[in-house]
Symmetry: C2
């Protein structure tokens, strides 16, 4: 069992999911599952995935993020990615996922 | 309808699939479909995906490659990626897919 450390926080209109640690093949399925469950039980229309504590994302993590995006759309929710570190942002850019996701630097922009 | 230009070539023990052009969201589903069909109709145990004419791969292309790998394994075949260009190789490395795929520079190594 992986100690996942996703912190969830809910404000009036936003569900904030803060992932702590690498987002990779070892935990991507579990992260996807937890965020999906939480989205299902939340009334917030906006889901902010805080990546400020994610040092690295691999292809499995990218795949999970795309799956989370699809789940959110089915639920009529919007996904916003917050505070990507430089190298993680670069992976999103290199794979063109920066065109698919809304990415913001600070929570106020979300 | 996309003019795909995958060239297929079969030697005694290898099915060679040469992709011409970007491998991205616009054609990844079609490339996956064509390679899968061809694998199903081939007796070759080794499937070489020649990427020498692929200038770019995006996250959809990476996802399709992983799906092709899974299909191949179900059929008891091995996938080998051939002649990745520098920036495409870098995307595989950054997303750690270089640990998942066997990647070779020349056909003789495949």
């Amino acid at each position: 069992m992986i100690d996942l450390a996703i912190n969830f926080e809910e404000t009036n209109d936003k569900l904030i999911c803060k992932i702590n640690g690498d987002f990779d093949a070892y935990n991507s399925a579990e992260i996807k599952k937890q965020i999906k469950e939480r989205m299902e039980n939340s009334k917030a229309a906006k889901v902010v995935v805080d990546m400020s504590n994610v040092p690295y994302i691999d292809s499995a993590g990218l795949g999970a993020m795309v799956a989370i995006l699809k789940d959110a759309r089915h639920m009529g929710k919007e996904i916003v990615l917050l505070a990507l570190r430089q190298n993680v942002k670069r992976i999103f850019e290199m794979t063109r996922l920066d065109k698919v996701f809304r990415i913001v630097d600070v929570l106020e922009e979300a």
